[in-house]
Symmetry: C2
Subunit: 409 residues, 2 copies
């Protein structure tokens, strides 16, 4: 394709690359689409779509299959199908209670996922890196190295996005751990490694594949031992200047309140985190998943102290959600992590608090729902993070993979 | 210019319009620029820039003047100058204590600004609309009707952006006031009317013309009788699903705290709003600007009760800013309104609170500064709001103004 560069004032190569990426993003996010769908979604012309699809077929990213005749006149538009083995991402998660590894294909296909409990407490970085390498080994052996787009890592801590350094992870006992670099050195593959906060990635996954699909203004609240979150504004996640945005668990809800693991006091986390629930219910605050399960069972059975403990978490969850609703005016709040499991038991006190603390106009179009992805949300989000460079510049990624694969249409 | 539409897969008219708007936005925001500057800023080719500038000259939006020879070889690139009379916006502000009207030209030139005190309290909408029409009359008579792009209105209340209805304005006593429609009917011109919250617009003005120029991640906190704010994320203001985002004054900082004008209790506004300051300093909470001036004078002179009152506002300001820093990870916090005037007196307690309540990683690149635009920030932001449709689609705006003015290059 040879186009005089300045006919519309933009270099045609730039425009072509951005068009290719637009198509790749639609296919990854929405799955199989007809050529006509792609015309409608991207605003590109039919002939441009044809040429770009040709490049993606040559690059092994998609296949085209004939469409079923739809009973309408004219030739049916072929279906463009993401090739779930044509590009794959590896996802890792370092949670307070568990480690996980997953293999996700282009278009969102989950090929494999493995999760192992880990002893809670302050394990060394060496030990966790070793465990991750062991966990991910079988998954990596199943991957064509040319198809691996990258490795995404979700971690229960505050992460600098630019270099994947975990700046602060009180519940892991980490400070300034160069996790991206450590994994790059330890993993038996050559691939970029991207690290981000687990709640940021949980929110990304719920937005792309879970409870918040299609919503442009979303607040995601994830509560486990720590409490974090993620905000989608105008369809895009808020990252902040260094990637630290979303530390909603450290909003001050009670400046003279309880001491927080972060070193401050009265943080929202001290009222809605796992430890707060367990303490209120009369359990050991370090009881972990097992104790949480017992509290949920007791509250479900109507045991008064457990019921009150869960309802009190619901009330404080509602107070903090209200603050964020007033700040952000989202259309949807998704509640994830342990709070997702508690949701049915505390929906009433949560909603009562929102009715008091959120301004009436912002409540009108607001829906609050539990997450749809369960405990795997951050791992699935880590895979999405690893896919981002492909979605942002598909042409570059295809070229990096194999210069011969990119045929100029 | 005739371009086959699908050469790069996008309709050339769409691309041309978006390029024209890109140039118009750069000129409005940055002021006079050489053609070379525009090539660098937009990534467009030199010949495309030449053609688009030709359209803007024909439309009366810019003039071209020869550049001073710069001592370098080759012809100097002409300077493209925004014509401050070629497009003008009218701005209005309905504050708790005053009304304002301004005339702002393309490129940001402030032609005129008039402000009058208004009696505090719940005046009727009729009375305020009448006063605004009277205040803006002389400004409108100075405007070429063809050059008027629109009327922006800043109001101390929660505004639905889509229709300019003031949903809730406790300090004006308004609820569901169709202010945009009332002004369209009452003003002696035919022009679109856009209404938004005053703090949203104060933040927009500080970002475009004040203390936050060039920063992409900004939190703006404006405290007067009410407390509101605005967040710039990735260079764009957060609006929310209905335009209600930024009600940061109604974050819950103390769920068992004082009753708030909004109907809830313990809102941040109850600790850092004007009334909180005046009460703490031993003044009538409804004392208004005069009383605020006395508190500032007394605190400056070292009068202990006034000093303590201001410092306590500073401490609570720091607590709430910390929450929002943890949520958003901005690079810059701008403090406006009355808080801007109090800033030097409370900087110490503010910073002490931030050191306790904001997470260390998010504090590293954080600057907190007073605003640069004083009390006029919301009015100037209202003008920017009225310019938005021109910046978003300059070709459409030029065509609306006068079909003959738009010459296809």
């Amino acid at each position: 394709m040879s186009v005089p560069g300045d006919l519309v004032g933009q270099r045609s190569e730039t425009v072509r690359r951005s068009n290719l990426s637009a198509i790749v993003r639609e296919l990854h996010v929405r799955g199989p689409l007809s050529r006509s769908d792609l015309v409608g979604l991207t605003g590109l012309t039919r002939s441009a779509i044809r040429g770009l699809i040709g490049e993606l077929v040559a690059g092994g990213l998609v296949t085209e299959v004939p469409n079923q005749p739809a009973g309408t006149p004219g030739r049916p538009s072929p279906i463009v199908q993401p090739n779930a083995r044509g590009a794959v991402a590896v996802a890792l998660e370092v949670n307070v209670d568990s480690l996980a590894a997953a293999l996700v294909g282009f278009g969102g296909t989950l090929h494999q996922l493995a999760r192992v409990d880990r002893p809670r407490g302050h394990l060394s970085v060496d030990a966790i890196v070793d465990d991750l390498v062991e966990l991910v080994g079988p998954l990596l052996r199943a991957v064509d190295p040319d198809a691996l787009v990258g490795i995404g890592v979700a971690v229960a801590g505050i992460v600098r996005r630019s270099d994947g350094i975990v700046r602060m992870a009180p519940n892991l006992g980490w400070r300034d751990v160069p996790l991206a670099q450590r994994l790059r050195e330890a993993l038996p593959v050559v691939a970029p490694v991207w690290v981000a906060n687990e709640a940021d990635l949980g929110g990304l996954a719920e937005h792309r594949r879970g409870a918040a699909i299609g919503a442009d203004e979303v607040l995601y609240v994830m509560g486990e031992v720590g409490v974090g979150g993620n905000m989608i504004v105008d369809g895009r996640p808020i990252i902040g200047i260094d990637g630290y945005a979303g530390e909603i668990g450290h909003m001050s809800v009670n400046p003279d309140g309880l001491a927080c693991a972060c070193g401050s006091r009265g943080c929202w986390e001290t009222e809605i985190g796992e430890r707060a629930l367990l303490t209120r219910a009369g359990f050991d605050p370090e009881g972990g998943r097992e104790a949480i399960g017992e509290v949920i069972a007791a509250a479900t059975a109507g045991e008064p102290r457990a019921v009150t403990a869960v309802e009190e978490v619901g009330r404080w969850l509602g107070i903090g959600i209200s603050s964020l609703v007033n700040v952000l005016n989202p259309q949807l709040v998704v509640v994830g992590g342990v709070l997702e499991r508690l949701y049915p038991l505390m929906a009433r006190t949560l909603e009562e608090a929102v009715a008091v603390y959120a301004l009436p106009p912002g409540r009108e179009h607001l829906r609050i729902v539990p997450g749809a992805l369960g405990d795997d949300a951050p791992t699935l989000g880590a895979a999405e993070l690893a896919f981002e460079p492909l979605l942002a510049d598909a042409a570059l990624q295809l070229r990096l993979r194999s210069p011969a694969a990119l045929v100029s249409a």
